[in-house]
Amino acid sequence: MNERDGQAIIFRFVVTLLVILALNFILPHMMPGDPFSTMASDVQSEDVIVMTEAQREYYFQYYGLDRPLPEQFFSYLANLARGDLGQSIYYKMPVAGVILLHLPWTILIVLAATAISTVVGVVLGIISARNRNKGSDRLMMTGLIAFAEIPSFLLGIILLLIFCVHLRLFPLAGAVTPFAHYTGVLDQIGDIAHHAFLPVLTLSLAQLTGVYLLTRNTLITVSTKDYIRTARAKGLGDHIVWSRHALRNALLPVVTRTGFVIGMLMGGAVLVETVFNYPGIGLTLRNAVVARDYPLIQGILLVVAVSILLCNLLADRLYQKLDPRVVE
């Protein structure tokens, strides 16, 4: 089975989605004991909300814990189809609503970080490949690779300590200044950018090296290919050889990588938002974890997982469109 075969991609997407749904469904059943009675018992943070009797009853009903498993699964799927992700304990509102409230912030920083890391990574990769084995290339290789080995949230803490705690250049928490009065749209955008700057920087740095290395190495591989020599032989000039022949081939894997990057960033955002107290879906997940708000945890997992899968799917489809060698 060809890895880039269109049907295979769809098939894998569907299977993976089903696995996630099944996991999401089964997880509450795997919990030691009765999830809803133990909830209140392992209090270790003041955030944990003790459930009221009414809420507990609601959960029994939502999860249908008293009914047989297949029936539970179907009612779970039916609920999902209606867009009903259940009721959050912590926020005391529908899970879907909570997610919709916080998702835009995550999308904002993830997309910004994707754009920045891709553009900067590609540009640095090109510079590095064209100056292969020269000083600038070696410097970038060593520096960026060392950077890549530091996990994003540790990097986030370092940036936070330097820029927020020590230099006091950026806010320690939030996506906007609370209770601010904006003088105009620009002011508002500025405030949002100010808050988003460090999370975006952290996420970008985390993904930058991957894009950079991929671009550099693919370009170097491509530049040794025979068709580059053919193009040079035709006397097309350095510029056309690079832009039309080398870059086009080298950027194909970068395209696929971009979808992958979005997925990685969605995962990384959970930790980075926690570091910066940025009110995206990641911080919400962390709060839900601390508060043992299981419906919210599940809802967020579903949304994050499905968006990651969709990004990968889109990237694969895009690759098929761009590379004529892939037979539809």
């Binding site: 290919k225 025979d226 068709y227 020599r229 053919t230 193009a231 040079r232 032989a233 035709k234 006397g235 097309l236 000039g237 350095d238 056309i240 039309r244 022949h245 086009r248 081939n249 194909l252 761009l322 590379d323 004529p324 060698r325």
Partner: protein
């Protein structure tokens, strides 16, 4: 003035650990409209040569020497200026592979690209030109919208050709254009090249390892070995009479040139970068001398527009006979003039066959050449001394002879060991242990078991084929420079004869000694001979390239000899059929 003049070109690839000289001082010149072939096996530097003319090696290799195109030294032209010459003046048809065309661009776009750049014509016109080019090379223009991976190898080769022709270049370099193609496509491309060259009149450099392809197109040829020119000259002369041992080996390795002969490759591996100072071919050469290991030979003219790079001036003469006469006394004061004024020579590493009827004097001649009989007049010189100074048979590197009758060539009372090591015993060479070892080696060479049991066998107990091989082993133990095989297969049955013959030729090919093969069997002779001398009544009536003698016999008696071959494929006297039959017979028998 020549269109292209390459002088002392050197290209060295620098790897992490070593410097590989891919091209090591090549010079060549090309007139307008001329077709020159560059021949060499893989790793001989021929592709590097093509790339360096296009200046495509920058950064990969260090290049020195000069390349002058139409009076302009293009060796150090800056990139934008060389770009103007590329494709417009000098275009290259690359060896076809999947990667040679950009996989994400349609082939039409890739052919149009140089047109837009160099001719500066509108896209629509360029596309029309491209469609014309496709038709010229025999491709339907609908393929312009195809991607490279959708085309077959032959079609891609045609696209590459169309692409190279797009800007009407003055000089076309073709790099192994046929090597990946099947025989039919190869012929089509060849015919196409001939037509196009006639029409457009550009000059061509054909780079290939395919001697028959190059020789069918090029008027001049350059033979490369390990980055050096070893021989150059007119194609016909080189094919018919190669001067360099390497060229001779190449010719022998090419089935299309001498269709009757069995195929024998050049023994040994082609020279690699384990640099030693001498001639790069010396390790595989049939005639190395001391200087070959210490200094590389220069390319020197040897007349008729030919050049060869060899310390020995090309293939050297090993043995020369001058006006040799020999008469047998007959009863009644009559004499039989068995050898009547024979002049001939034998070159290093070649197989010369002497054919003729019974009593034509060929065996007598053989005995004279070996120094067994003394000629009445005339002289035989081997290497530098006269044969009859008498030290050729009992020293290493001399002349050995194997006789016709296997049953009398070794004594029945001798064991195999005694028979084979006899020359050592006679000449007191080596200790007993050394003699035993060399005997075993010699037996292995002739594919006889080197076991104690076999060594202890009496020659009388052996079959004819085995005894002939014992005799051969006895000759081989003295490591001869020249082996004379006098009708050695005539007493053997067909299958044994085929085996002994193949064994002999194999030994000759590996060891590189020269051989005089004497036979009355023309068909068998053709399988192994490089040259044939036809003898009749004590004279050599015709001598020449085996192929030439066979196809275009000049003397009537030779024609008669060729006509004597009988067999059901030969009724129309077309030698090709004969060769085909023999091919099957000999090769079916295998080596053993």
């Amino acid at each position: 003035m020549a269109d292209l003049e390459v002088k002392d070109l050197k290209c060295h690839y620098n790897t992490d650990t070593s410097v590989v000289p891919a091209v090591d001082g090549i010079s060549l010149s090309l007139e307008a409209g001329e077709i020159v072939g560059v021949i060499g096996e893989s790793g001989s530097g021929k592709t590097t040569l093509g790339l360096s003319i296009m200046r495509l090696l920058d950064g990969l290799a260090s290049v020195s020497g000069t390349i002058v195109y139409k009076g302009t030294d293009i060796t150090h032209l800056p990139e934008p200026e060389i770009d103007r010459i590329r494709w417009k003046d000098i275009a290259i048809v690359f060896q076809n592979n999947l990667d040679i065309l950009n996989p994400v661009m349609t082939v039409g776009k890739q052919v149009v690209e140089p047109l837009l750049k160099h001719e500066e014509i509108p896209v629509r016109e360029a596309q029309a030109r491209c469609a014309d080019l496709f038709r010229t090379v025999g491709l339907d223009p609908v393929w312009m919208d195809a991607y490279p991976h959708q085309l077959s190898g032959g079609m891609r080769q045609r696209v590459l050709l169309a692409m190279a022709l797009s800007c009407d270049p003055k000089l076309l370099i073709l790099d192994e254009v046929t090597s990946a193609l099947d025989a039919f496509t190869r012929k089509e491309i060849r015919d196409l090249l001939i037509d196009l060259q006639k029409k457009n009149g550009y000059s061509m450099i054909l780079i290939s390892h395919d001697l028959s392809f190059v020789s069918s197109l090029a008027s001049r040829m350059i033979v490369l070995y390990a980055g050096r020119v070893v021989e150059s000259g007119p194609t016909v002369d080189i094919i018919n009479a190669p001067r360099h041992p390497y060229t001779r080996g190449l010719v022998h390795s090419t089935p299309d040139i001498f269709v009757y002969k069995d195929l024998w490759g050049i023994p040994g591996e082609s020279a690699s970068e384990d640099g030693h100072a001498g001639c790069p071919f010396s390790r595989r050469c049939t005639q190395p001398i001391e200087i070959c290991r210490t200094s590389p030979p220069r390319l020197q003219s040897c007349g008729d527009g030919r050049e060869v790079a060899c310390h020995r001036g090309g293939i050297a003469t090993l043995l020369r006979a001058d006006a040799v006469h020999f008469r047998y006394p007959l009863p009644g004061r009559k004499t039989l003039h068995a050898v009547n004024g024979v002049d001939m020579d034998v070159c290093e590493g070649e197989v010369l066959a002497i054919v003729g009827q019974t009593a034509s004097g060929k065996s007598t001649l053989a005995h004279i050449l070996a120094g067994i009989l003394r000629p009445e007049s005339g002289e035989v010189r081997f290497m530098d001394g006269a044969v009859h100074s008498g030290n050729n048979g009992h020293r290493f590197g001399g002349i050995q002879i194997v006789f016709q009758d296997p049953f009398s060539s070794t004594s029945n009372r001798f064991t195999v060991l005694d028979a084979v090591r006899e020359p050592f015993d006679i000449n007191r060479i080596g200790t007993a242990a050394e003699r035993l070892d060399m005997t075993r080696e010699a037996l292995k060479l002739v594919r006889l078991p080197p076991t104690d049991e076999f060594l202890g066998k009496y020659c009388g107990a052996l079959s004819g084929g085995q005894r002939q091989r014992v005799a051969l082993a006895r000759a081989m133990i003295m490591k001869p420079r020249l082996l004379i095989a006098d009708e050695i297969t005539s007493a053997l049955d067909v299958s044994t004869a085929a085996n002994v013959l193949r064994l002999l030729k194999g030994l000759q090919n590996r060891r590189g000694f020269a051989m005089i093969y004497i036979s009355h069997d023309l068909s068998l002779t053709l399988k192994i001979a490089d040259r044939i001398a036809v003898m009749d009544a004590g004279r050599i009536i015709e001598i020449g390239n085996a192929h030439e003698v066979m196809l275009h016999p000049r003397d009537d008696r030779t024609k008669r000899l060729i006509g004597t071959r009988v067999g059901h494929c030969c009724h129309d006297h077309k030698p090709v059929g004969m060769a085909g039959r023999l091919q099957t017979r000999v090769s079916d028998c295998g080596d053993e």
